[in-house]
């Protein structure tokens, strides 16, 4: 993948990204999509929704949904990952877990705020279009259509998310359907 030459489209993908961790993987979202970062807070569970919808919170008077990206990408849940860890480790992990509020564009073309739970926020990094490569197809895990590409900065690879697609409502519905079918089976 180091030999791949960036396409013109890839050039356009450059910009500033807010990066964060899920498990050991570093992800990035375009900084312009980010509204704010807030600390973890009690989330009201909404029944009869897919598992990756953690629920809703009150963001200064506005009710916004919270998504769990680990669940979305089929990763082990944060709680499960910490099983067997020492109390201090659990506390440390919980202290840095937070919610990134992003503005996603819904099918009607309006920007709506959605919160995503991440293990910890890393940094804001500038990644030039030349340092972004198309995502190869992985066997499993993150579906490539969710990725803008793979960004390289400071020798590390960051998975740059196309957050609109990750959280797109029609995707959610499809998933909800397939899950309910799974549950029924």
């Amino acid at each position: 993948m180091s030999t791949a030459t960036p396409t013109p489209a890839a050039q356009d993908r450059g910009g500033k990204f807010l990066t964060f961790y899920l498990a050991d993987e570093e992800y990035g979202v375009e900084i312009l999509k980010v509204q704010e970062i807030i600390g973890m807070q009690p989330i009201t569970r909404v029944p009869r929704t897919p598992a990756f919808i953690r629920g809703v919170i009150n963001l200064r008077g506005k009710v916004i949904p919270i998504m769990d990206l680990r669940e979305r990408f089929g990763m082990e849940s944060a709680e499960a990952a910490l099983q067997g860890a020492s109390e201090a480790d659990v506390q440390a992990a919980e202290a840095v877990r937070c919610i990134i509020v992003v503005q996603v564009v819904n099918p009607a073309g309006q920007a709506v705020p959605v919160g995503i739970v991440v293990d910890r926020v890393s940094e804001v990094s500038s990644i030039g279009g030349g340092e972004i490569e198309d995502a190869p197809s992985f066997g499993s895990g993150v579906r490539t259509e969710y990725l803008l590409g793979l960004g390289k900065a400071q020798g590390r690879v960051k998975l740059l998310l196309d957050i609109d697609r990750v959280l797109a409502a029609d995707e959610l519905e499809q998933l909800a359907e397939s899950e309910s079918v799974d549950a029924a089976a």
Partner: protein, 597 residues
């Protein structure tokens, strides 16, 4: 035709502005009927027509410009004391107002359907009215209206409700704007604000109230104050917090009041309606309004406007008798319809009173039996019998007129009012008259709810859906078909919905005799018992959507910010009952309810 090069934004502004002008002029015209010498009112109307003329010429709407010119000329002759403002002149002016509305509607319609370049319809009676305006010579005789123009109002009445409804929306929304036109020098006192910004402000103030109560309720503060014997630094701090609290509460009252608008606009519209309907039916009616400064939620104004139109029409058509009948009955020749509004016990009451012939219990009962609505009226109170007129398809009009009597009115009235959680009551005495009481909540924004706990989760159940709640005894519970549960209360068998099972909540009370059953129903469905752990108390909440990211969730009507700042979910009782009966919680009657997508 709409000019092809028209600036769309400009055109939209023009439509809104012109409607405001016309609304203001209509009110002034009606006022002129009582004080024909009020030159300020004449000027208001003149200015309105003039503004429409000027802007329509600028945009290139030739027909509207020509018409506004004629209407304006008539008024300018009145202003210059060339002709007197007679009844005939008033009728012409009011018709001109209607025609301008029709022209504006045509522009809007074309804009929507065809866009720039589209052909504009010429409203019916246009030419006749122009001729009448031009030919008007100010003689005291009846207006020289050709037959076609006389027919125009009839056609207008047919479209009346829609036209007025459209107009009504704007009128309410831009009512203040209309006032500005009339007031002239009050131009700076009102400001148009986007509703979403206003709603956001109200949200933020709600948050501020919560944040404030968290500070004032902070344990450290309370504990420290106790420890220090309420003296010293903490005493000072407590004082400051109390002070801030007062400001916050005042701010909250203020922000809530921003959504409120007076009923004046609605009442004004009805004044015009009374005039037209009474003239048409040959009745002499005095229309009195009271309390038009009473305020209700902005969103409610639109919803109650139509029912009131209908009720006023009915009062004049069916209630008030013709002049001869009135004299025979020993009443004053002129009938009286009174519309009043006032606040009482957390509601706004709009009262419509007529001194007409009143409702005849027997006649209504007979009709209801005929229509199969009831078997017999025995044991029914008068008020229960009167409520029958709200049943769909019920109409006591002996002949169908185009004013009322199509039998589609009163049930819609009731439905509309109930849709904003209001109620209609009737009091009537034969021969003396009828009074309708429309009771409306002060605001739509706040839902009265009961906070319940299920496991660790809390839900809000709208109070209007709750009939009662109780702790069942073992003997009241039964299982049907091994799976569905029912409870029997005073002979009524109701399915039991275990909310924790439906919503998959862990840690909830499994034993109904240790928990609570809440009897709920939305009025149309079979009553159902919801199993909840306990009641946490009543609360008034502001209903919000769960956010576009989630969409509609079965059984949940929305979210609300609770007193501790967390989100509580508001249950959609009708949906829950349907969900449960689709076979998930009660296997008893799975075929009767719709499947949930």
């Amino acid at each position: 035709m709409l000019p092809t090069d028209v600036d769309l934004d400009l055109l939209k502004d023009f439509l809104v502005e012109s409607r405001d002008c016309i609304t203001g002029s209509e009110a002034a015209l009606l006022a002129l009927e009582h004080t024909p010498d009020d030159m300020e009112a004449v000027n208001t109307v003149f200015r309105a027509f003039h503004t429409v003329k000027g802007t329509s010429a600028f945009i290139g709407l030739a027909r509207m410009t020509a018409f506004a010119h004629e209407a304006e000329s008539l008024l300018s002759r009145v202003r210059d004391r060339e002709i007197a403002y007679t009844k005939a002149c008033a009728t012409l002016s009011l018709r001109s107002v209607d025609m301008l509305k029709a022209l504006l509607d045509a522009v809007e319609e074309t804009l929507r359907a065809d866009g720039p370049g589209g052909a504009l319809d010429r409203p019916d009676g246009y030419q006749a009215l122009i001729d009448a305006l031009v030919g008007y010579d100010g003689s005291a005789a009846a207006p020289a209206l050709p037959a076609a123009a006389a027919a125009a109002p009839a056609a207008d009445d047919e479209q009346g409700p829609q036209a007025e409804r459209r107009q009504g929306d704007r009128r309410q929304g831009d009512r203040r704007q209309g006032d500005r036109r009339q007031g002239g020098n009050e131009a700076d006192q009102f400001l148009r604000v986007r509703t979403d910004r206003l709603d956001r402000l109200i949200d933020m103030v709600g948050e501020l109230v919560i944040a404030q109560s968290m500070i004032s309720g902070d344990e450290r503060l309370a504990g420290a104050a106790r420890g220090q014997g309420a003296t010293g630094a903490h005493h000072e701090l407590t004082k400051k917090i109390t002070h801030a609290g007062k400001i916050v509460r005042e701010l909250q009252d203020l922000s809530m009041s921003m959504r409120m608008v007076p009923l004046k606009g609605t009442f004004q519209k009805l004044t015009r309606l009374v005039r037209d309907v009474a003239a048409k039916l040959g009745k002499d009616v005095e229309f009195v309004t009271e309390g038009e400064d009473t305020e209700i939620d902005r969103n409610m104004v639109d919803v109650v406007g139509d029912p009131l139109v209908h009720m006023v029409r009915n009062a004049i058509d069916h209630g008030v008798e013709g002049p001869e009948d009135r004299l025979r009955a020993g009443k004053a020749r002129q009938g009286r319809v009174k519309l009043s509004a006032y606040q009482a016990g957390g509601s706004v009451i709009v009262e419509l009173q007529d001194d007409g012939k009143g409702l005849h219990r027997d006649k209504i009962a007979r009709k209801a039996i005929e229509r199969g609505l009831i078997e017999s009226d025995r044991g029914m109170t008068d008020s229960e019998v009167f409520q029958l007129i709200f049943a769909p398809g019920f109409s006591t009009a002996e002949k169908i007129t185009d004013v009322s009597g199509r039998g589609v009115g009163m049930d819609v009235v009731k439905r509309n009012i109930e849709s904003v959680r209001g109620r209609v009551e009737i009091a009537s005495e034969p021969g003396k008259g009828t009074t309708f009481y429309v009771r409306l909540p002060l605001t739509l924004a706040v839902t009265d709810g009961m906070l319940v706990r299920v496991g660790a989760e809390r839900y809000v159940v709208p109070t209007t859906n709750i009939h009662m709640s109780f702790r069942p005894e073992r003997a009241m519970l039964q299982t049907v078909g091994g799976r569905g549960e029912v409870v029997t209360l005073r002979g009524e068998v109701m399915p039991v919905v275990r909310l924790h099972r439906l919503f998959n909540v862990a840690g909830a009370e499994e034993d109904p005799t240790q928990a609570l059953l809440m009897i709920v129903g939305d009025g149309h469905q079979r009553r159902t018992a919801l199993l909840v752990d306990e009641l946490l108390g009543q609360s008034q909440v502001v209903a919000k959507s769960l956010g576009d990211g989630i969409g509609a969730v079965g059984g949940i009507a929305g979210g609300a910010i609770l007193g501790d700042g967390r989100v509580g979910l508001i249950l959609d009782v009708g949906d829950i009952v349907a969900l449960a009966q689709s076979g998930e919680a009660t296997a008893e009657r799975p075929e009767t309810r719709r499947a949930v997508a």
